[in-house]
Amino acid sequence: MNCGVSTDMKPRTLRRHFRESFKNLRRNGWMTFASVSAVTVTLMLTGIFLVIMLNLNKIGTDIENDVEVRVHVKLETTEAEKDQLKAQIENLPEVEGVEYSSKEQELQNLINDMGSDYTLFEQSNPLYDVFIVKTARPQDTPDAARKIEQFSQTEKAVYGEGKVENLFSFMKTARNIGMILVAGLLFTAMFLISNTIKITIFARRKEIEIMKLVGATNWFIRWPFLLEGLWIGLLGSIIPIAAIAVGYYYAEQEASERFASHFIDFIGYIPLIVPVTLLMLVIAVFIGIWGSFISVRRFLNV
């Protein structure tokens, strides 16, 4: 008697495993439905949550990017000196862009913002000419302001000291919390999907035992289960992926109309949907297969 079982699978055996995995989905009809719907519901939740978190993050970043340094130029500064100051500011490594706004423009903005009461000032404009400075990374704003303040023609470099630092620290905390939530949700989704698959396989442990007793190798038993996990993942991800693809299409359109005035701007359709869809697919398929794999393994040592 010769030992050992060939480990290379014949192509017809792979075909058999595919056929068998489909048949098993049908044979276990009710269980298949229960697993698929667990995947569907879990992924739907994950997907919606991801879309919301990604957009909140985007909005947060937009708010951060609004931070700017307003450089009050000394009253007696000549045009040449202003050009020189501008060049100095532009040379700072943190700085990305500099714009000029004369004190007349400034007053006009103030009147627009605060109301016509301020037209009184038109006779004696108390404001300064300003350079509006943007840094490449919003977090560098305070540093840039401090440096600009050293320049001789600068009266003052204003950036909402205190408030801006608070905004950044708030955003940092919010991002950390968001990241923990996303990680927690992804973990939860994976746990719930693999847990469901585990229970269904647990219910079929007798089958696995019999197959082993009739001479099936571990891989022969595993293959159809792994493929089943794959199909369950794929089937379960159809509805959430479709729903989010359609839903976000309308949500983004609606948002760009409704919130345009609030500086709220959603992530574009394609840049959001492509990675979210891929992530959902990966979770569903990977956890489907992996959940099957580890669950079957528990019952293979007969």
């Binding site: 079982v5 089958e207 082993k212 009739v214 040592n301």
Partner: protein, 228 residues
């Protein structure tokens, strides 16, 4: 073919099912295992296809020591041993055809050969017409015959049958016994645990009697020997 030396089997719950069993069964032999309920017959059989490992002693099957056999190589052993389980162990979601075919699929047999061979053995046990039914749609005796069909479908070197006629009427039992005899004549070793006095006393072969986990009798051309 099968060689047990000093075999003791103690189950985890403390029950000693076999103790000090020494037996050699040669290739091509036909052996009955008899004995009262709970004597250790099924345990003896489970040791051969390694559903259980001996607590002490060695069990050699075809030159392989089952106790030290690597997990990975167990399937190879089981493919050489066809088993009729006392509780049938049919796969509940597969139909009759698929259940029998499974034993050939695991050895990656050609699909055309599988079809031919499965219908052949289903015919031998008289259930060709029920190929598409599920095990739950069969009577007890019919399920038992499917278990028998599966055990012989891949022409194993050894067929071990645990009470293969327990759910069969005498007529059908004799049909099955004739089937086993034919297979045996072709050189297959047959080990059969049974309570069927008539069969043992009519088809006279080697009889190993187990009582309380010990071999109390081992006769060539023996009798059932328990009389009520």
């Amino acid at each position: 073919m099968i060689d047990m030396q000093g075999v003791t089997k103690k189950y985890p719950n403390g029950v000693t099912a076999l103790s000090g069993v020494n037996v050699t069964i040669k290739q091509g032999e036909f052996v009955y295992i008899v004995g009262p309920s709970g004597a250790g017959k099924s345990t003896f059989i489970k040791l051969i296809y390694r559903e259980e490992k001996p607590s002490s002693g060695t069990v050699m099957v075809g030159g392989i020591n089952t106790a030290s056999l690597k997990q990975r190589l167990v399937p190879a052993l089981r493919r050489k041993v066809g088993v009729v389980f006392q509780d049938f162990k049919l796969l509940p979601l597969l139909n009759i055809y698929e259940n029998v075919a499974f034993a050939l699929e695991v050895i990656e047999e050609d699909p055309a050969v599988i079809r031919k061979r499965v219908m052949e053995v289903l015919d031998l046990v008289g259930l060709k017409h029920k190929a598409r039914m599920l095990p739950t749609e069969l009577s007890g005796g019919e399920q038992q015959r499917i278990a028998i069909a599966r055990s012989i479908v891949n022409n194993p070197k050894v067929v071990i049958a645990d009470e293969p006629t327990g759910n069969l009427d005498p007529d059908t039992s004799w049909d099955i016994m004739r089937l086993f005899e034919t297979i045996n004549e072709r050189g297959t070793t047959i080990v059969m645990a049974t309570h069927n006095k008539d069969i043992v006393n009519t088809i006279r072969r080697r009889v190993i009697a187990i009582e309380n986990g010990r071999i109390v009798r081992d006769e060539l051309r023996g009798e059932y020997g328990y009389e009520a």
